[in-house]
């Protein structure tokens, strides 16, 4: 809740709303006259005595507006309260209880969702003869709860299956207590949003109702002001402020409430968070490595947050030769995925590359505009995602994915389909799946379709970001065999990113180990596995229990990696390292230095700490 208020939208809304609430509370002080005092000259123009003029009946419009704030906010508040209470009861109750109760309540919700509110209110209100506001408020609430109930129900349904709710059931918590103390605290923002929405609905509906003379027209609200203004011909007699002021007030309160809701929305759905600044292009660095197909130079990338920029990749340089398989291993948060997206200029806001170059066959992709970069993408380097489950557009067919890709790069459609058919066949997918939608494919099939797509334009390089992570062991092995075929038969270079080091050893030419946004070690796969140098690599390899040999107690690496925003003054692995040198490792960031022919490692155990102002000094918080 507090976080929601940090949104700029919410703050603006809250300020406006606070002003109106203050006016309502202090109405007797602020309003110069009684709203019903009709002793002034009718239809007076605005003046210091009557800021907004007077009505046909000689009442002060400004005083009515001030007092009307009270009546109007009251309606909004009470409608919000009643409608939300109903919505919570029906939505959360039905959603948690499930079964026939839920079916009935859900059907009821659907009915009320569709029944047109205002006409029903009008009809019902027309039968009501009492002069109290309450029936009107109740009727409006009664027609306005359904949307909230629907949203709360679906949220409850999803929470009900969440493991922490199951855990509460498992320890013997009672259903009522689960709803009140486990479910509800997680729905406060949704309930607040629901309350605000219902309040807006209540204010607008009541105003409409009062405008046509239903309800108590003698109460002072903005709606009744509009009723009197209209019925006494305010516009025809030129008293346009009489109309303008109360309507604008309604719209303003509605806008303020809407802004508050917008802030809450941003909180519950981080994807909505706006305020992404456009960044300048990253500062280029270095020159492409000789003989490399892809050469990354000093890439620094991260994410812009409200609290400032975070650095996920802290100066990484890597190179891939033609036909080579480079494996990149690292744990969650080590920056490996960010690096992959950054390398192709595909990091999207709030992600950003701060510095560095990515030379693909000599062209620095990061120095290009998106439009200039597009022709290189997929034609020279394609990209297979971690979540190929969602990589296909759910509403178009596999064939359309093929054709869209072909069209963007000038490949004739007939040839594209021909190639795609052959590729699918290679990956053991029958050709008729060209006409399938993604939901008709199994997980393993989707991944193979994406692999086939990645080869459509015969690229020189494929970047693969955890392509087998969500898959079962057997399917994973089959996909790895397909990737070996791509490597062997087509001579494509592959950069393969994974958290599973054990997967890399058998297939990679070279392996790079990433930790906390840096490459800590790289070298030929067999050598890294047989003679790991960095204590982190050693610990990582020891963390895989073997499938053979005597069983013995093994230990992982204690602690956890530094956070993205953390400022590092020394080796990022210092806190977890069993071989650390106090006073050395925590003082200077180790540089990646050669150990033997093709093996490099960034560790003070294998060389002198570099001078403090080394060009590769990384880890400065930006």
């Amino acid at each position: 809740m507090k976080a929601a208020l940090r949104s700029r939208w919410a703050q603006a809304g809250l300020v406006i709303l606070a002003i109106f609430v203050l006016v309502a509370a202090l109405a007797p002080v602020i309003a110069p006259y009684s709203p019903t005092n009709s002793s002034f000259s009718p239809l007076a123009s605005p003046s210091l005595r009557h800021l907004l003029g007077t009505t046909q009946l000689g009442q002060d419009i400004f005083s009515q507006l001030v007092w009307g704030t009270r009546g109007t906010l009251e309606i909004g508040f009470l409608t919000g309260l009643f409608a939300t209470a109903l919505g919570v009861l029906v939505g959360i109750g039905g959603g948690y209880l499930g079964g026939p109760t839920d079916s009935v309540l859900n059907a009821l919700t659907n009915v009320f969702l569709v029944i047109p509110g205002l006409p029903l209110i009008i009809i019902t209100a027309a039968y009501i003869t009492t002069k109290s506001q309450l029936p009107i408020i109740l009727i409006i609430s009664f027609t306005g709860w359904a949307w909230g109930a629907r949203v709360l129900r679906s949220q409850t349904l999803s929470l009900r299956q969440r493991e922490f709710i199951l855990a509460a059931r498992l320890v013997g918590e009672s259903p009522l207590r689960i709803v009140v103390s486990e479910v509800l605290p997680n729905m406060l923002s949704l309930i607040a949003a629901n309350f605000i929405g219902a309040a807006i609905y209540g204010i607008l509906s009541a105003a409409g109702l009062q405008f046509i003379g239903l309800g108590n027209v003698n109460a002072v609200t903005w709606g009744t002001m509009l009723f009197w203004a209209q019925s006494q011909g305010a516009l025809l007699s030129g008293a346009w402020l009489w109309i303008l002021a109360p309507g604008a007030a309604i719209a303003l309160v509605g806008t303020a409430l809407g802004m508050l809701n917008f802030g809450i929305d941003e909180l519950t759905n981080p994807r909505l968070r706006a305020g992404v600044k456009k960044l300048p292009k990253p500062v280029p660095a270095g020159t492409p490595e000789v003989g490399a197909l892809l050469s990354l130079q000093e890439i620094e990338a991260g994410y812009q947050t409200a609290a400032g920029p975070l650095t996920a990749v802290r100066g990484v340089s890597l190179a891939v030769k033609p036909g080579e398989f480079l494996g990149i291993a690292g744990e969650s948060g080590c920056g490996k995925s960010t690096l992959a997206f950054a390398a192709l200029g595909l990091l999207r806001p709030p992600g950003a590359v701060y510095r560095g170059s990515s030379y693909l066959a000599g062209v620095d992709l990061l120095a290009l505009t998106p439009a200039q970069r597009r022709p290189y993408l997929w034609r020279d380097a394609s990209f297979v995602f971690q979540a190929s489950m969602n990589a296909l557009n759910p509403v178009i067919r596999v064939r359309d994915h093929v054709l869209d890709t072909a069209r963007a790069h000038g490949l004739p459609p007939a040839e594209a389909i021909e190639r795609a058919t052959a590729l699918l066949q290679q990956f053991e997918i029958p050709a008729h799946f060209l006409d399938a939608y993604s939901f008709q494919l199994s997980g393993g099939m989707k991944q193979r379709v994406v692999l086939a797509l990645s080869l459509l334009l015969r690229p020189k390089l494929i970047l693969m970001d955890e392509p087998t992570t969500a898959l079962d062991v057997v399917v994973q092995r089959l996909i790895m065999q397909q990737i070996e075929w791509i490597l062997g038969e087509l001579g494509v270079s592959i950069v393969f990113i994974t958290h599973d080091f054990s997967l890399l050893v058998e297939i990679s030419d070279r392996i790079a180990i990433m930790y906390a946004g840096t490459v800590v070690e790289q070298g030929p796969a067999a050598e890294i596995y047989a003679h790991p140098l960095h204590p982190y690599t050693q610990g990582l390899i020891r963390s895989f229990p073997p499938m053979s040999g005597e069983r013995q107690v093994l230990h992982g690496i204690p602690g956890h990696p530094p956070g993205l925003g953390e400022k590092l003054s020394g080796c990022p692995f210092f806190a977890r390292c069993s071989a650390r040198l106090e006073g050395v490792c925590d003082q200077a960031v180790p540089a990646l230095l050669a150990q033997g022919d093709q093996h490099t490692v960034a560790c003070h155990l294998y060389g002198q700490p570099p001078p403090v102002a080394a060009p590769t000094a990384v880890g400065e918080a930006r």
Binding site: V171, N186, V474, M480, V505, F544, M547
Partner: protein, 314 residues
């Protein structure tokens, strides 16, 4: 006496609505035992029914047929509130995802101490956290889950499960969401608990190597059927069932040379709504014989305590 005995447990899930209801046979005649202080590893791929089995044992869902016995006593399907609480005190579950299994709106203290309150136990949450490796406990008690790392969360979730001092702990892929470098220590914690508290443990995993590391015995499931069960090292190092062999082949084993074995199997796990009549693995099995597709083979005792459901051994 075994802590838990399952015999012939069946579970069918009905998904979809009229007129396209599909009945998924998620568990089919599953029988197994977990002895006191034993760690039984349960291995299978997604959809094999291993998580459903944990759900049935923990009574998050009820089985359709078969018997569940806890400490020798038959557990009826309907329990009174008191019986239910008594059962929950004996059997607890640790979930796979430590990011989802702790209430984001509640403190760690709530997670650990609330079960103690429900069961009228003294609040020993601080000691419990310490014994699960969250030390000093005072630093963790008032924190909320998002302030903890993945490993710390899983330790807190284990502490919650232990808060009622259960006899049997079900751990459903407790390490698969964790980083590789901290998995071993969470497994070591579970091993410790067995030693210290005398717990029995059902350790569910898709990783043969992890099952071998932690378990006394390993059971393998495929498409809702138990296909092999036996001493951990035997099952993992010399698997008998063709499916277990396939699992072993598919797993990366860098320590056994750098050339991966080539898998010769195709196809996918069968549709649980339309299980083949015989052995569920027969359609994919490289060694399948005509009889495999006719009837589900029974278990064959191949060595002491090592049973396999496959006609190759009868």
């Amino acid at each position: 006496m075994p802590v838990l005995q399952l015999s012939g447990v069946n579970k069918v899930f009905s998904v979809g609505r009229f007129p396209t209801v599909r009945h998924l046979r998620v568990l089919n005649a599953v029988s197994l035992e977990i002895a006191e202080r034993e760690v039984l590893g349960l291995v299978g791929e997604s959809g094999s029914g291993k998580s459903t089995l944990a759900g049935v044992i923990s009574r998050l869902s009820l089985h359709d047929a078969g018997e569940v016995r806890l400490e020798g006593a038959l557990v009826p399907k309907r329990l009174s509130r008191r019986q239910e609480l008594a059962y929950r005190r004996r059997v607890q579950l640790v979930f796979q995802d430590p990011y989802a299994s702790l209430n984001p709106a509640k403190s760690i203290h709530h997670a650990v101490a609330r079960p103690m309150a429900i069961h009228h136990l003294p609040d020993t949450s601080a000691d419990l956290l310490e014994s699960c490796g969250l030390s000093p406990a005072a630093r963790y008690l008032q924190r909320r889950p998002f302030e903890l790392s993945g490993g710390e969360r899983q330790r807190a979730a284990i502490a919650r499960a232990l808060s009622v001092r259960p006899r049997l702990l079900l751990a459903d892929e407790p390490t698969s969401m964790l980083d590789v470098s901290i998995r071993l220590d969470v497994m070591n914690l579970l091993a410790d608990l067995r030693e210290r508290e005398g717990l029995s443990l059902l350790f569910i995993t898709h990783d043969l190597a992890a099952a071998r590391y932690l378990s006394d015995r390993v059971a393998v499931m495929y498409a809702g059927h138990l296909v092999e069960i036996g001493p951990a090292r035997e099952v993992v190092e010399r698997p008998l069932h063709p499916y277990t062999q396939l699992l072993r082949q598919a797993a990366p084993k860098p320590e056994q040379g750098l050339e991966a074995e080539h898998l010769a199997v195709a196809g996918e796990v069968p549709d649980l709504a339309n299980l083949p009549p015989g052995c569920p693995f027969a359609p994919r099995c490289p060694k399948a014989q005509p009889t495999c597709r006719e009837a589900l083979p029974g278990f064959v005792q191949v060595a002491a305590g090592h049973q396999v459901r496959c006609v190759l051994y009868s």
